[in-house]
């Protein structure tokens, strides 16, 4: 099955960064996920992960997100996610990631969570 390549658009607003993912997140998405995270400005303390244009994450892709969450946790950065489908909200919940991130339905709720 063809996998759409992941694109990531980074928006930086002061200490808040928004990573907008587009396309499936799989083992080939390392640069799109961790690469973009590592490229964030040093003063970034709040990160929004936008999954609204990500139809699918496989286990390797989820591993990349977990690595991002771990790295952010070590750097005391707050990460919130939004736009996940109900399916992946459930998967993220089962993965026990509540300690490292919160899941929100839309961007407004996510922004409110980090305000």
């Amino acid at each position: 099955m063809m996998v759409a390549p992941t694109k990531t658009k980074v928006e930086q607003h002061g200490d808040l960064a928004v990573l907008r993912f587009e396309g499936d997140i799989t083992s080939t998405s390392e640069e799109a996920v961790l690469g973009k995270y590592n490229g964030l400005a040093a003063g970034t303390s709040k990160i929004l992960l936008d999954f609204s244009k990500t139809p699918y994450l496989n286990s390797s892709g989820i591993a990349l997100v977990i690595q991002l969450l771990m790295a952010a946790s070590k750097a005391s950065r707050k990460v919130v996610c939004f736009g996940l489908s109900a399916h992946f909200v459930k998967v993220f919940t089962m993965l026990g990631l509540a300690k490292y991130t919160t899941l929100h339905a839309d961007e407004a709720a996510a922004r409110a969570a980090v305000a």
Partner: protein, 631 residues
């Protein structure tokens, strides 16, 4: 009266002798273009003398060549034919101020390849015993090759002749054609080589579609064939094809450079996106330039400058190929394997690039090519070198394919062996005695070896059963090796507490998962029907058609010291564990199998659930384990 009678008798006799007025030698060349130049009374004494058949190049633009000739007394002027050699592609013939013939139309789209041609002289234009002036108005567009003779390796050998139509011209034309046909034969022979190799490579590529170097080499071969075809058409068919061949063949020259550089990048492993795009610039540049020329039909000022830019761009692309391969050879110099296939292939591509640079220049300056006659045929050094290097490249690319296929088969055999080992590690429930319980499992790896695992560990002493189901992120050998590690860790595990089993497993995996993780669900089934479940990021099991509520926990191997929590259940009906390959099976419409469908079929047998998932669209390992109590 006697001389008149003799003259009257002599004239018909004279007309019967072959006329052979040699017009070769010095003609007069004008600086510019003016209609008055056609007139016999025009004084051309100040014009520069030039010899025909010509030795060097004639000037660009529109100019005139003039020559005076004495028509012998008694000439039958109704049978005259003027034959001219291949001095230029486009020209008009004026005889005593009247237009009597032309070749080409002074437009690029109607330009013919230069070749010898005869033109009948209409009656009444010249008179026997009188002088006549032949004026040739010619046009040499900047578009054409530097010789002004188009794609033609046959030099101007004349003849320049005024004769009767029944003699010399036919022999001359036949001689010229023969030379061209012989040159055409060599073009066809080299093209046949290239086409054969392209087909061979195409078949090989159909077998191994990920081998891009074969596609690049096919592209190079097709560009070479296009070049030769254009040359052949220009040479053999007397079509107005000069412009057409230039239009197609110059981009083709830039195309084969592009394909060579892509091939060099692929073979050396030096893949840079910007260079993969940049190699097409000369082709785009040349095509754009051609479009302007085609539209104008006359060429345009500054065309030479454009040509030079295009030449430099093309040379840069070729030099990039040579540079990449030189760097690659230098980097690998310590291998000491100077005679292996990879090294020789790189050298062959470098040679092709070297040959290609003068080949491009040769479109404008023939002296860079060496042409010689052998066996009655004309051979071109560029063609010969190109064929030899192409043979080497094709052989080496196919040889490399063969070596890689053998290696792939060897690895495939090893992976198949690894699968057998893995299957024995994860253990079929059928081979494990599970008194008091019926355990079924279905395991469908997405590749030869998978990252899913399940272990059924009965404790006959107390009648309990420990079931561990999990998934290593990723697939293939790396995941399979982690499964092997998990198997070894569990075989030494003494605890029967699911949370403790997961905590221990987590400690053993931290630092081993290389950025991945392992999800795992561990459940202990007691003889009295009690079930204790702990979960490390795995999908919750289903019981009696419902999703079991379990405490979420972090996947294994992510961070050390994680504490897991247990929840208690009762085993009524069937307990079903699965991997994410079930819920994330995806059909052609990219619709996931999902939780709802999984719940609906969770009471079916393990095999039925796995098959239903696979039928939906497997894209990951699928594992289903079901546990029922024997009552």
């Amino acid at each position: 009266m006697k001389p008149l009678i003799l003259l009257a008798l002599a004239l018909p006799l004279a007309a019967q002798f072959p006329l052979h007025l040699d017009l070769s030698g010095d003609w007069r060349l004008s600086d510019g273009d003016d209609p008055s130049y056609s007139q016999p009374e025009f004084n051309d004494s100040q014009w520069k003398p030039v010899p025909l058949p010509r030795q060097g190049s004639l000037p660009y633009g529109t100019h005139w060549l003039r020559r005076r000739v004495e028509i012998p007394p008694g000439t039958d002027t109704a049978r005259l034919v003027l034959t001219l050699g291949s001095f230029m592609e486009d020209y008009e013939i004026h005889l005593n101020g009247r237009l009597v013939g032309r070749r080409g139309e002074f437009r690029l789209s109607r330009t013919y390849v230069a070749r010898a041609q005869s033109f009948p002289v209409p009656p009444g234009i010249v008179a026997a015993g009188q002088p006549a002036v032949i004026a040739l108005r010619f046009w040499r567009p900047v578009w054409t090759s530097s010789t002004g003779r188009g794609y033609d390796d046959v030099a101007d050998q004349g003849p320049y002749l005024l004769s009767y139509r029944e003699n010399a011209p036919r022999e001359v034309a036949a001689s010229g054609m023969m030379k061209r046909e012989r040159l055409g034969v060599t073009l066809l022979v080299t093209s046949a080589f290239h086409v054969s190799f392209a087909l061979l490579l195409l078949i090989a590529w159909l077998m191994e579609r990920e081998r891009k170097e074969m596609l690049y080499l096919i592209g190079f071969l097709i560009a070479e064939v296009l070049l030769r075809f254009m040359s052949y058409v220009s040479l053999i068919a007397d079509w107005p094809s000069s412009h057409f061949s230039n239009f197609a063949s110059l981009p083709a020259l830039t195309l084969n450079g592009a394909f060579l550089t892509l091939l060099a990048m692929e073979v050396s492993g030096y893949r840079r996106r910007w260079l993969q795009v940049a190699v097409w610039l000369p082709t785009l540049f040349h095509t754009g330039m051609n479009w302007i020329v085609w539209r104008e039909d006359r060429g345009f000022a500054g065309y030479f400058a454009w040509q030079q830019i295009s030449s430099v761009l093309t040379a840069l692309v070729d030099l990039a190929a040579i540079g990449i391969l030189t760097h690659s050879l230098w980097r690998n110099r310590r291998d000491g394997r100077w005679t292996d296939g990879k090294t020789i292939l790189r050298v062959a591509i470098m040679l092709a690039a070297f040959i290609h640079i003068p080949g491009y220049g040769a479109a404008y300056s023939r002296p860079l090519q060496v042409v010689w006659l052998a066996g009655g045929y004309s051979w071109n050094s560029y063609q010969i070198a190109s064929v030899l290097v192409t043979v080497a490249m094709t052989f080496l690319v196919l040889h490399r394919l063969g070596v890689d296929r053998r290696e792939k088969m060897r690895l495939s055999g090893e992976v198949a062996a690894a699968r057998i080992v893995q299957e024995s590690q994860i253990g079929s429930p059928n081979s494990v005695a599970t008194p008091g319980f019926v355990v079924e499992a279905a395991y469908l790896p997405a590749s030869e070896v998978g990252g899913d695992f399940y272990f059924v560990l009965p404790d006959p002493g107390v009648g309990s059963l420990l079931v561990v189901v999990g998934d290593v992120s990723g697939k293939g050998l790396r995941a399979a090796l982690l499964v092997g590690h998990i198997s070894g860790t569990l075989s030494n595990e003494r605890s029967r507490q699911p949370a403790e089993v997961l905590a221990n497993l987590n400690q053993s995996l931290v630092g081993r998962v290389s950025g991945g993780f392992v999800t795992c669900c561990c459940a202990r089934f007691d003889a009295d029907g009690a079930v204790t479940v702990a979960n490390a990021g795995h999908l919750a099991p289903y019981a009696g058609g419902r999703e079991v509520e379990v405490e979420a926990g972090l996947p294994l191997g992510v961070v050390s010291g994680v504490e897991y929590f247990e929840s208690s259940q009762r085993l009524d009906g069937q307990f079903m564990f699965m991997s994410d390959g079930v819920i994330e099976a995806e059909n052609a419409q990219r619709e996931l199998f999902g939780f709802d469908r999984t719940r609906e079929i969770s009471t079916k047998s393990a095999q039925e659930i796995a098959e239903a998932t696979k039928a939906w669209g497997q894209n990951d390992d699928i594992t289903v384990v079901t546990v029922r109590r024997i009552t």
